[in-house]
Point group: C2
Chain length 154, copies 2
DNA sequence: TTTTCATGTAACTTATATAGTTACATGAGT
DNA sequence: ACTCATGTAACTATATAAGTTACATGAAAA
């Protein structure tokens, strides 16, 4: 299976939006994420529906965060991209007649649900503000002199 | 991504092998798992390398468990099918230059690793004997009269 | 010793999901 | 009117699991 990297990608994009003065166009954001503007618009449209970002058309248009960084959890973002499948594994049959398979499925299902619950709980604990603070720390470590540096080379 | 159901499928097959007197052919096992014999042979060949099953060619040949049910954990089986990816999500870039992306990746990576560790730990706690006992319980609930029933209709 | 049966394995096809691209409509500002 | 940016449908590319075909290998039975 090709693994889903939308959450990782879109968090990156959101933090860039936060650093950017005024609206960011999907073209600029796509460059930061090294992908196509349509991919950005597609993903961000989900976040717009959830009130995480806003978009404007035309001159001076683009995307802005609709809430404070501290008010956006990874869980919010995950939900806004339509809660993609977390686990790469599955039970072969969802509701098998075979009692052997039922026993197997029940055991696996337990573990799967625990792992999913743990992931979602972690996502709920982390806000974009947390990530932004971590970024600032990394920036200071890398460029100790500069108070507020550039973000990257794109 | 298409989700991996090999673990679920092969556990089912192993328990059927345990119930079956003498060697089970890949054709019989494939019928139980509703798939192709080659798929069974392909997966079981990994388990053979780990000493979980043995196979014999020719008349009266087929597959048998090489160890006691209590000596085979789900973790053993998982490893034997080559430790497939557990999580359906990925970081977009593994070692990004961008500090923003590094902060994002680090946060996600933490959660991902916790979830994976939890799954593997659970797999390590459960043996085929556990699953077999659960199966027996289900059997008794479904057919209270019978001491030792058939397994299923395949 | 030939036939039958079962595994071993390579090569190919199918199915499914993410990601990327093209093309064009819509609407806001200049 | 012209430009810029989003909105979105439709198509293509890519990756991975799963299923299938075909045939070689080797063991037991006839």
């Amino acid at each position: 299976m090709k693994r889903d990297s939308r959450l990782s990608g879109i968090l990156h994009v959101l933090l860039h939006m936060a650093e950017h003065e005024g609206p960011s166009t999907s073209e600029i954001l796509a460059r930061a994420m090294q992908t196509n503007p349509v991919v950005i618009r597609r993903i961000l449209s989900g976040l717009r529906e959830r009130g995480i970002v806003r978009s404007e058309k035309g001159h001076g248009g683009g995307w802005v965060l609709a809430r404070d960084l501290g008010e956006i959890t990874l869980r919010d973002v995950y939900d806004a991209i339509d809660s993609p499948t977390l686990l790469a594994m599955n039970n072969r049959t969802e509701t098998p007649d075979c009692l052997v398979e039922q026993a197997v499925n029940a055991a696996l299902e337990d573990s799967f649900q625990e792992a999913e619950a743990l992931l979602l709980a972690r996502f709920g604990e982390v806000t974009l503000k947390t990530l932004h603070a971590d970024f600032q720390t990394r920036l200071t470590r890398t460029h100790p002199k500069r108070k507020k540096g550039h973000v990257h080379e794109h």
